[in-house]
Amino acid sequence: MILFQGFRKLKTVTALAMVFGGSGCATKLAAADQHEDRVSPSTVDVSPTPVKEDIVQRCTTRTMSASWAEYYRSMSELKRNSGIGVVGTVSTVGETVQPDIGPLFQLVTISVDQLIWNRDGKADVPKSITFEQTGGVAAGSKFELEGDPLFSVGEQAIIFFTEFSPGKYRVTGGPTGRFGFQNGRISPVTDDGIKVAEGTTVEQLLQL
C-alpha cells in the first residue's frame, strides 16, 4: 500500500512551454515554486537579500545529491543485480512532477532497440520501458542528481533495469546502471561507476 506513496498525491505540474523537448532547460515550469513551504524565498531565514537572477535564471542547473542504496563499480555486480539490460532510445520525457513529499521527478520512456542482457531468460521483455528519474525542470531551472544527468528525447542509452514489481522497472544502481551510447560506442555517464573506456563496444562492455 505504502510502496507507492510517492505516486499517491502527485501534483502533475503545468507545462507552460515545450520548446526544446525532453528535459530541455526552461521548457517546463513546475509547481515547485508554488509550493510555499518548500522553496518560497519568504521562508528563507538567512539574512542577505536573494540575488533575483540567481533564483529565477533560466537554464541554471540545480544539483541534488544522493546516497545510493545500489551503486556498482563492476560489470559482474551490475549484471548480477539487473534483470535486463537494453540499448534503447528515449522516446518521451514526461512533465516534471512535484509530489507532496519527495523530490521532483520525471517519467522517462525508452524504446528498446536491442536486448543485451537477460539474466533470467525473461520471455516477454517489453518493447518500451517507462521508469522514474529523479529531477526535472522547474521554476526555470534544471534540477538534476549529481552524476545522473536528465534524459532527453532522442538520446540513445544503455540501461540496466530491475523489475521490482510486475511491469514496473527502475534503473539498477542509479547512475552506475546507465551508459551513453552513440554510433555503436559506449561512454560512461559517471566517472565513479564501472570504468568504461571511451569507445567501448556493447560486446566489450558485457565482458568487463
Partner: protein
C-alpha cells in the same frame, strides 16, 4: 681512539650530512602527502551564510519534527541521531550547532519510493553568493527501512553532511562516500570522520 678511527668517524658524519638534503626532501614530500590527504574532502560550493564572527559555532535550525510526522519511527530516530551526532554539543571539534525550531528552511522527510535506488537525498535551493537558501532532506525507507539502525544513521548523517556543504568523496572511508554499502558495510562509517569535520570546519 686512534687517528684512523677519527678519519672514519669524520667520513661517516660527512656522508650523513651529504644525505641530509635528500632526507629533508623526503620528509617534505611526506608532510605534503599527509597534509593533502588531510584536506581530501570535497565541498559542494555552497554554505549557510550565518557564521558567527567570533566564538562557536554556526547555529543552524532544523524544522521541528514529531514522530507522528513520519511513516516509521525508524526514520524519526535516524534523522534525530543524524542531526545530533553532527553537533558541537556531541563533538566539540565540529563548529556547528543544530537545534530545532518550529519554522526553518531545513526540513527532513521520509519517503517510501521503490522507483529509485537512492536511500537518501538532499535537495537544496540556492541564493546568490554561494549560499544555500533551503534544504529538504529525504530518507527513502523502501531501502533504509531494511537497514540496521547504524546503517540507516550512515544515510541521514551523510545527508546532513550535504546540508552543511560537503560533496561526495569516493575512494575513501568517509561519511561522504556516495554509496551506503561501501560507507557502512565496508567502511563501518556512520558519523563524521576527521576528514568530514575538517571540510565542515573549513566552511564555518
Amino acid at each position: 681512539m686512534n687517528i684512523t678511527n677519527v678519519f672514519k668517524a669524520t667520513k661517516q658524519v660527512g656522508r650523513r650530512y651529504k644525505q641530509l638534503p635528500i632526507l629533508l626532501l623526503v620528509a617534505a614530500c611526506m608532510v605534503s602527502v599527509l597534509s593533502s590527504s588531510a584536506q581530501a574532502y570535497n565541498l559542494w560550493g555552497f554554505r549557510w551564510f550565518t557564521t558567527p564572527t567570533s566564538g562557536c559555532c554556526l547555529n543552524r535550525s532544523v524544522k521541528s519534527f514529531t514522530m507522528s510526522s513520519f511513516l516509521t519511527t525508524d526514520a524519526w530516530y535516524a534523522w534525530t541521531n543524524g542531526i545530533a551526532w553532527w553537533s558541537h554539543n556531541n563533538n566539540a571539534s565540529i563548529n556547528v550547532n543544530m537545534s530545532y525550531a518550529s519554522s526553518s528552511t531545513v526540513k527532513v522527510w521520509e519517503v517510501q519510493n521503490p522507483n529509485v535506488t537512492w536511500d537518501g537525498l538532499s535537495s537544496p535551493t540556492f541564493m546568490g553568493g554561494g549560499q544555500f537558501a533551503t534544504m529538504d532532506m529525504f530518507l527513502n525507507t523502501t531501502w533504509a527501512g531494511g537497514y540496521s539502525w547504524q546503517k540507516r544513521l550512515s544515510v541521514t548523517s551523510h545527508e546532513v553532511g550535504h546540508m552543511l556543504g560537503l560533496d561526495h568523496r569516493s575512494g575513501a572511508c568517509t561519511l561522504m562516500q556516495p554509496d551506503s554499502f561501501t560507507r557502512w558495510d565496508s567502511c563501518g562509517v556512520n558519523s563524521a570522520t576527521a576528514d568530514d569535520i575538517n571540510g565542515v570546519n573549513s566552511l564555518y
